[in-house]
């Protein structure tokens, strides 16, 4: 049985079965959802077992005719870029069901169905190697998320859900046109209709066309990331979404944007990407600093974490457009790290919200004494998010900054302040909530974390430590694919530079050197310094 298809379709198959469950059997529904997502996770681990190290291209490839008239195929594959993101998705879904075990009282059946459909859509978007298949999964995940925010969200949920949906759909519909145009151009030149992402990599485009397509694709992904100034939907969506929705949104869905940049924007339009890299880098740096500053002044815990996401994902985009081995590997690792640490933070904010029904910092203080287990987990998650050496956040940010510094020292320097600001606002949050005297009497008797909440948090912490202590487990598997990607981009950009030099002696981009930026060496030297 094809491995990728098996764990891709298992969640949606579970959702279909679940549709026939009696509405009243809430326990059975949740148990079934948890079981399906756990089995999915276990099957997806099979990818690691059959993984061939050192291979840059797609592995476990599946390819079937789907709409042969247009050259659209049902094509799946996994490589070093998507591997950890797929596993992150299958890993986080059971955690969501565990964390929301008691929190979801309204329509539990529809809740579980929505998350299972979403899981298939997200895995599918990471696995698809056909552009239309990718697009379908990319859009499909919007519908359940819209319902999750709109049905199970907070007071202002409708506004947030509609805003989330319209922002994302606006970007992706324009991308759809760009996809059609790109495929048509390729068909024009080769005479063979194809939607295969790899086959489209070499499509030659006129400069204007490439520029427009670059912006159409970038807009869609920048909204999803979200990149400053397109981030305004994110705080609303996060604050209103139920805990599970926030975890998935921050943990996986935002990574669709950064993944799209890596998988599509850079290799499809390398020349435009190189030419406009400075714009993207500037926007990411603004996002990093702006997100951090806004997070600092938030009175609401969830909003604080949401803005910290804007800041942290700015690092990922910054690293992608720095376009070297260390920065891109750092970016992918940071995507996974952010999924773990921000996922944990949203989960824990959900835990305390469920008990006290407030997220305002001012309502808390000194609860480390009433909820010691909770405090331990929260502090670990915060430290991981801050980038404490030994935990996951450090590795990603270090690689990103070290890599970016080689080509864009100024941007890297400004971005580094984001790390410092993160330490300020997150430790500020910890101090306000957990330490000091208990000022609010309501905080004196809060029950500590329940079994299912601990069970949901422990795996996250395990991986935070694992990535922090031994990142090479993760870096080793992505290295060949990233190397290949970079060689591909630089090959085309340098060719263009040479052509440009010959014709007008005009230098377009500086190609950055690749020699001394092996991330594993950087990590090792950083470890030594530590």
């Amino acid at each position: 049985m094809p491995l990728l298809s098996t764990f891709l379709w298992l969640p949606i198959a579970g959702a279909i079965v679940l549709a026939f469950f009696p509405r009243a059997a809430a326990g059975a529904i949740k148990g079934f959802g948890l079981a399906v997502s756990l089995i999915t996770f276990v099957i997806s681990l099979g990818v690691l077992r059959g993984w061939q190290d050192g291979q840059a291209g797609f592995q476990f490839v599946e390819s079937l005719d789907w709409i042969p008239q247009w050259g659209i195929r049902y094509a799946l594959g996994i490589d070093g870029i998507s591997l950890w993101l797929v596993l992150l998705t299958t890993f986080l879904t059971p955690i969501i069901f565990l964390s929301g075990w008691n929190a979801i009282k309204k329509h539990p059946k529809e809740y579980v169905i929505a998350f299972l459909v979403m899981e298939t859509a997200m895995i599918g978007a990471f696995l698809a190697t056909d552009l239309l298949l990718f697009y379908i999964f990319f859009e499909l995940m919007l519908l359940p998320m819209y319902l999750v925010i709109g049905v199970w969200g907070g007071a202002n949920r409708i506004y947030a859900a509609i805003k989330f949906f319209l922002f994302t759909i606006a970007g992706s519909l324009l991308m759809l046109l760009a996809i059609i145009y790109l495929v048509f151009q390729n068909y024009h030149q080769t005479g063979l209709p194809t939607f295969s992402i790899v086959d489209l990599y070499g499509t030659p485009l006129l400069p204007t066309a490439q520029l427009l397509l670059f912006f159409a694709f970038s807009l869609a992904f920048a909204i999803k990331v979200p990149l400053f100034p397109l981030h305004t939907w994110l705080p609303d969506a996060h604050v209103e979404a139920p805990t599970g929705g926030s975890i998935i949104l921050a943990g996986v869905m935002l990574k669709m944007g950064t993944y799209g940049f890596l998988r599509m924007v850079l290799p499809f339009f390398p020349e435009s990407s190189a030419r406009w890299a400075n714009l993207m880098i500037t926007l990411s740096v603004i996002g990093i600093v702006y997100g951090a500053l806004v997070a600092w002044v938030q009175p609401d815990m969830k909003k604080l974490v949401a803005y910290s996401s804007v800041s942290h994902l700015g690092f990922c985009v910054l690293a992608i457009f720095a376009m070297n081995q260390a920065s891109i590997e750092g970016s992918i690792l940071q995507m996974v790290s952010h999924g773990l640490s921000t996922g944990a933070l949203f989960l824990l904010v959900g835990v305390i919200y469920e008990r006290r029904h407030t997220r305002l910092l001012a309502d808390y203080g000194g609860i480390a004494r009433t909820m010691p287990i909770f405090a331990v987990f929260f502090v670990i998650a915060v430290l991981s998010s801050v980038g404490l050496p030994g935990l996951n956040g450090f590795i990603g940010e270090f690689l990103i900054l070290a890599g970016t510094f080689q080509s864009h020292p100024v941007a890297a320097t400004i971005a580094a302040t984001g790390v410092i600001l993160a330490a300020i606002y997150l430790l500020w949050l910890v101090q306000k909530v957990f330490f000091g005297p208990i000022t609010n009497d309501a905080n004196r008797n809060i029950p500590d974390m329940a079994w299912h909440e601990i069970a949901a948090t422990v795996p996250l912490v395990v991986f935070m430590v694992w990535i922090g202590v031994h990142p090479n487990t993760f870096l080793k598997k992505m290295e060949p694919s990233v190397q290949h990607l970079i060689a591909q981009i630089h090959g085309r950009v340098e060719r263009e530079v040479m052509v440009a030099k010959e014709s007008s002696r005009h230098r377009v981009v500086e190609s950055s050197s690749l020699e001394d930026s092996s991330p594993r060496r950087l990590v090792d030297s950083a470890g030594g310094a530590r």
């Binding site: 008239q69 859009e139 319209l166 759909i169 519909l173 046109l177 059609i180 048509f184």
Partner: protein
């Protein structure tokens, strides 16, 4: 005069579906007259007649031209026949439960649906513009009566009268346009006209003729700015009829227009006629989607959304080639499923026909009646063009065709307006799942096996076309090549 040469061999077989529907319509009326106690059987009987017509259409599987070069039977006309029959059957299924509930069941409604379908079949098969007009008139007369079928409801009468007055004008425009074309080309047959256009240039008078034709057909299609009748008529018509009316006549008019555009193809690059059509398409997309936002009445909202959808279909036709025929054919099938499905759910709300069917009436329906809610939500997602529904794949085909023909600007406008449309389609989903019913104002829902069956057909069809469209593409692609002259 000897009529024999006019009747080619097998002509009876070629028009068998039309004959079945004509005879079936009369049978329905007679059945109602002689066995008034078995009104409940009328719906199933009508369904059998439609199925028989579909079967009859399959007996003749060649491309051939009949009646002295005026009537074509080919793969593509069969595909459109199936679309008309599908639309008719869905309407019958919803109407069966609706009429029983409202207490005015009768054979006339089903008979008029059958005869209207005959009119549409003539429009899609007619190679002579006069045959097209004949079909259009048969259809229109049926629609006048169908819209006013609930004669006790004031809105129904109003709608019928409006459609009659405006429709009569529109037909006049079309006939005038045909007359002017006849004056220049000395023919009303599109095939002969094509030969004329291949050697001659268009005259200025022909521009007038084209404008008149587009005004008339634009009215039938509800293209902006000829659209204002649509919301009133849909609102007043019995809901299942409104669903049928919003889909089937448009499909028939589009195929007739495609034939005409194809015949004019040699001169089109030299005149700005298609720019006019492009303006109509753009206006429809903008007006339809923008005005739908402020509608609170579901039927009116669907009417404006329909105006926008005709705009989308029109942009595929700006350059006529086999892809545009196939894209329109697939879009109309999809549109039949999702739009009649949406009207069908509205028809299940037990309300006085004079009262508006507003968004508040469906508040909380998604959890109260999960299947109705799911079906309506799916139809909305499909109308909005979101994957993995049929609406996505059809819209994708339309935009793909437009871009490949070089109409990128129009395609971009289409995409931008469909972003707008997402808002009001999602609002329906919002009312279905995120609003509690207004206390003391709950609207009961009716429905029986027939309506549920129709919804099942719509739901399954939307998923099947959305997920595995390949066989349909293949059929439509083959058929489309048969239609065009090259």
């Amino acid at each position: 005069m000897n009529l024999q040469p006019l009747l080619e061999a097998n002509w009876q077989l070629a028009i068998l579906p039309e004959l079945v529907l004509c005879a079936g319509g009369m049978l329905l009326i007679l059945f109602d007259a002689f066995a008034p106690r078995f009104k409940g059987a009328l719906g199933p009987l009508a369904l059998i007649i439609f199925l028989a017509a579909a079967w009859a259409g399959n007996l003749f599987d060649q491309t051939a031209i009949f009646f002295g070069g005026t009537y074509e039977v080919s793969q593509i006309t069969k595909l459109f026949d199936l679309t008309f029959l599908l639309a008719g059957m869905l309407a019958i299924l919803f109407a069966r439960d609706y009429l029983e509930r409202e207490g005015f069941e009768g054979g006339e409604l089903y008979a008029l649906l059958a005869w209207g379908t005959v009119g549409m079949m003539m429009m899609s098969k007619g190679l002579d513009l006069l045959i097209v007009v004949l079909g259009l008139e048969i259809l229109s007369v049926c629609i006048f009566v169908l819209v006013g079928y609930n004669r006790r409801a004031a809105v129904s009468n109003e709608a019928s009268l409006k459609y009659f007055l405006m429709g009569a004008f529109a037909t006049g425009f079309i006939l005038y346009g045909i007359a002017l074309f006849y004056g220049a080309t000395a023919t009303t047959n599109v095939r002969v006209m094509a030969q004329w256009f291949a050697v001659n240039d268009a005259t200025p008078l022909m521009t007038v003729a084209f404008v008149l034709l587009m005004a008339g057909f634009g009215f039938k299609l509800a293209l902006a700015p000829f659209h204002p009748w649509a919301p009133d008529v849909y609102q007043g018509a019995p809901t299942p009829v409104a669903g049928w009316l919003s889909v089937a006549p448009k499909a028939a008019t589009l195929i007739a227009l495609i034939r005409l555009f194809d015949a004019m193809e040699p001169v089109l690059p030299k005149v700005s006629w298609m720019n006019m059509v492009a303006v109509l398409a753009v206006l429809s997309m903008i007006v339809g989607n923008a005005v739908a936002i402020v509608q609170r009445d579901l039927k009116r909202m669907l009417a404006y959304s329909g105006i926008a959808h005709v705009g989308y279909m029109t942009i595929a036709m700006l350059t006529v080639r086999d892809d545009s025929v196939a894209a329109v054919a697939i879009y109309t099938i999809t549109y039949a499923l999702m739009n009649i499905g949406a009207f069908g759910v509205v028809s299940l709300l037990i309300k006085n026909q004079n009262d508006p069917h507003t968004l508040d009436d469906i508040a909380g329906l998604g959890f109260k009646r999960p299947f109705y809610g799911f079906a309506l939500a799916l139809c909305m997602f499909s109308l909005a063009g979101l994957p993995p529904t049929a609406g996505f794949i059809s819209k994708f085909y339309i935009f793909k065709t437009a871009i490949e023909s070089g109409h990128t600007t129009v395609a971009i406008i289409g995409i931008l307006t469909s972003i707008v449309s997402v808002y009001y389609y999602l609002r329906v989903v919002y009312y279905l799942y995120m609003r509690e019913p207004v206390a003391g104002h709950e609207v009961p829902t009716g429905g029986g096996v027939f309506a549920v069956g129709a919804l099942m057909i719509a739901v399954i069809g939307i998923f099947v076309i959305g997920i595995y469209p390949s066989p349909l593409f293949q059929a439509a692609g083959h058929a489309a090549r048969a239609l065009l002259l090259q």
